[in-house]
């Protein structure tokens, strides 16, 4: 299996769509899950955004300098795509816990997932983003700064406060 640098080089120099397909195959899971977390499990919106993320990545891949990992770069595109979507007037600003309960229950019918979504509702947007990038995507604090453009101190405090909130609400459940 070719490494990312080689695949990226082939996309930039030869416009090789097969090489780009390999990159999409490799990173689709993390990007789609990340967007599902941000959209509170709105799977169709998350997948539409994920598709746009990869199309934008293809268009701008020549600007990727390799200063961060390709995964970090893709996550930053995904984060900005979500923020743009959130700014649109038709975006559902507040998702109630009942909506999440119904959506998740009908799709997967798993109590664990319902509970996770409910606990996540107690977090602020910044806390949810920072905790997801840290624990789900396995990013360092510095990489989270690159994705979100939050100051390092803010990232650390979001993670600390988010963890406290989760622990407290898990105790209550």
């Amino acid at each position: 299996m070719m490494n990312d640098q080689l695949l990226i080089a082939r996309v930039v120099t030869d416009q090789d769509q097969q090489a780009f397909g390999s990159l999409v195959r490799k990173y689709q899971q993390s990007i789609r899950y990340f967007l599902r977390r941000l959209t509170s499990s709105d799977c169709s919106l998350a997948d539409d955004l994920a598709q746009e993320v990869f199309l934008t990545a293809y268009k701008k891949i020549h600007t990727f300098r390799g200063e961060s990992s390709f995964s970090t770069w893709l996550h930053s595109i995904a984060y900005r795509a979500f923020l743009n979507e959130k700014r649109k007037p038709h975006y559902i600003k507040e998702i109630s816990s009942d909506w999440v309960y119904e959506e998740v229950a009908t799709v997967d019918n798993q109590e664990q997932k319902i509970l996770i979504e409910r606990l996540m509702l107690n977090l602020s947007f910044g806390e949810k983003v920072c905790l997801t990038l840290s624990y789900s995507a396995g990013m360092s604090h510095q990489e989270i700064v690159e994705v979100t453009n939050f100051p390092l101190g803010t990232v650390k405090s979001h993670i600390k406060r988010g963890k406290q909130k989760l622990i407290e609400s898990a105790k209550r459940n």
Partner: protein, 99 residues
């Protein structure tokens, strides 16, 4: 639910299940092809429109309408060549990447 240790949190945030679908990859590639075709059509339409305008001007006003341009190119050939070269280089440099 127990969420007291780092391991519990990692377990809590772990992405559940696999989302590795070939259908998603294919749909991204189909979209890329569609956008490429749309871009080609736009370039073709713009080029055709530019040629038609040039031909219409020449037909309606006669070829003497280009005389000032030809005079300028002959008098200041180095300026004319430099401008053309800069335009070509600028177009190549700013050319959007495929999509």
């Amino acid at each position: 639910m127990k969420l007291s240790t780092e391991e519990d949190l990692q377990q809590f945030f772990a992405y559940q299940g696999s989302l590795n679908e070939s259908g998603f990859v294919e749909s991204v590639q189909i979209k890329l092809q569609e956008r490429k075709k749309i871009r080609q059509r736009i370039i073709l339409a713009a080029t055709t429109a530019a040629i038609m305008v040039a031909l219409a001007v020449a037909m309606l006003a006669g070829y003497e309408v280009w005389q000032p341009v030809i005079d300028f190119a002959l008098k200041n050939s180095y300026v004319f060549i430099t401008v053309i070269a800069l335009s070509v280089l600028g177009t190549l440099y700013l050319k959007p990447n495929k999509v």
